[in-house]
Amino acid sequence: MSGQTLKLKPVEPPVQLQATLEPVWVRVLLLGLALAFVTLFLFIPLVAVFSEALRKGWGVYLAAIQEPDALSAIKLTLIAAGISVPLNLIFGVAAAWAIAKFEFRGKNVLLTLIDLPFSVSPVISGLIYVLLFGAQGWFGEWLREHDIKILFAVPGIVLATIFVTFPFVARELIPLMQAQGSEEEEAALVLGASGWKTFWHVTLPNIKWGLLYGVILCNARAMGEFGAVSVVSGHIRGETNTMPLQVEILYNEYNFTAAFAVASLLTLLALVTLALKTIVEWKTDESRQRIPQE
């Protein structure tokens, strides 16, 4: 309300003032509850995965992850992620560009629609492709006549993976590009740069960390998706099993050590994802601090 007068930013005290700090017993109680919750729900399960996988020693563990079915599951998982992540990356950049740089009617509806796959149950995400490409589905007859297999084959798994990971990159980029505005791009364009040049040299360096963050999360979900892929895969061993489906089959056959061995690889992937995510968060904090406050 003070108009254009200079506002002095109060210097924040490095440590919390004593007055607002709760009594010791409250602090100890809250910290104890938080640590107990985290231990019970995060740390014990994490340790359990590796402990179960190595229960019979390294030899059995290494044999389990080198088994032909396990290797083919790893390959299929890499294929599914390798196709769905780049496609959703291109979509994410296009959607963020459209929403952040332009004003148009129906923008909020578009934002909500982009979020849709997040709020749909994984089982329904698989079911929709059964309805489209299954034997009784819309394109079922046509596909059979032309001898194209989508359902219970690799294309179905890829489609289901694209669907469940659809919003990840867009979700990270839209708020970031909205916050950055388009002054820098406008300057580049006025100075004569082409549209693509502006994108590569101005926009991309500004959004690189957010982009990486979105890709990391998208990849983790793509490699770990279970429900949707389970509906469309048909569970053919060595052919249409991804790593999570291989974990399920081994577990249901009471082959617990092998199930946890494959699961441990997915857990390592989760840990790498968390580590990268933390690094990217530090980097974005750093670059945000480098931007001078208005």
Partner: protein, 284 residues
């Protein structure tokens, strides 16, 4: 394109790529999300209303709704309490291992659901690390509705923490200091000053955790035991229908679940808008 270029908005646009980016976004959205999802609704129209109603209200489905939504509500509520405490501790206290715990909060997002499922089932089985302690006390978790609850608490854990944490960080210390120095107790300060600030974020986290839990499949099926009428969740019932080639039946239940998801999505959007208004209003 020609008629659009006469548009008033276009005249002011300097940034290129409007048609390309909006066009590609709509094309990809339609192809990947909208057309496939519409198949669910169109398939349901092939059923008579009586058949549809009979399918979505049969005794076994009703039992699965009660379990799915009951356990999801309870799990989201438990996550509000413990997630709220965790966010509070992470923002306001200093303790060793804080950064590590902060990073691990997102584990349920990053860990594939099937891995979470088999791990929780193994831990809480009668001979598992935790089952061994609980079963002698008469608490059976694995293969009961309680197992469903445990899995849903796990997958919903990050939501409340991650929505409340930034709001607590941004909350103005001055208000709290003023309340304390004017003689309010810590309890009063929390209820009257801090809680109203974080309420929209808490509700958003609750709704996100609840929405995620209602559709969850992978982490639940291993620990639930999946007994019809007792520990069978709605997503699993859809799978059962599909395996019996009852596509119409599975689709009818999917429509019910989708409508509930849409309502939740709109609620979450409204709650997030409220959170943002609260935060910006606080800064002015």
């Amino acid at each position: 394109m020609a008629f659009l270029s006469k548009n008033r908005a276009k005249a002011r646009r300097v940034i290129p790529g409007f048609h390309l980016s909006v066009g590609f976004t709509l094309f990809y959205l339609g192809l990947i999300v909208l057309i496939p999802l519409s198949a669910v609704f169109i398939k349901t129209f092939t059923m008579t209303w009586e058949a549809f109603w009979h399918t979505v209200t049969s005794e076994r489905v009703m039992a699965s709704y009660r379990l799915t939504f009951g356990a999801s509500l309870l799990a989201a509520f438990i996550n509000v309490i413990f997630g709220g405490i965790l966010a509070w501790v992470l923002v306001r206290y200093k303790f060793p291992g804080k950064r590590l715990i902060d990073a691990f909060v997102d584990l349920p997002f990053a860990l594939p659901t099937a891995v979470a499922g088999i791990t929780l089932a193994t831990l809480y089985a009668p001979n598992g690390w935790l089952g061994k302690l609980l079963v002698p006390l008469g608490i059976k978790v694995a293969y009961t509705p309680l197992g469903v609850l445990v899995a849903l608490i796990f997958i919903g854990l990050p939501f409340v923490v991650r929505t409340v944490q930034p709001v607590l960080e941004e909350a103005e210390k001055e208000l709290e200091e003023a309340a304390i120095s004017l003689g309010a107790s810590h309890c009063q300060t929390f209820v009257r000053v801090i809680f109203p600030t974080i309420l929209p974020a808490v509700l958003t986290g609750f709704a996100l955790a609840f929405a995620r839990a209602t559709g969850e499949y992978g982490s639940v099926i291993f620990i639930a035991g999946n007994m019809p009428m007792i520990s069978e969740i709605t997503p699993l019932f859809m799978i059962t229908k599909l395996e019996q080639y009852d596509y119409a039946g599975a689709t009818a239940i999917a429509v019910v679940m989708l409508i509930i998801s849409f309502i939740l999505l709109l609620t979450i959007n409204a709650l997030q808008a409220w959170t943002r208004r609260r935060q910006t209003a606080g800064r002015e």
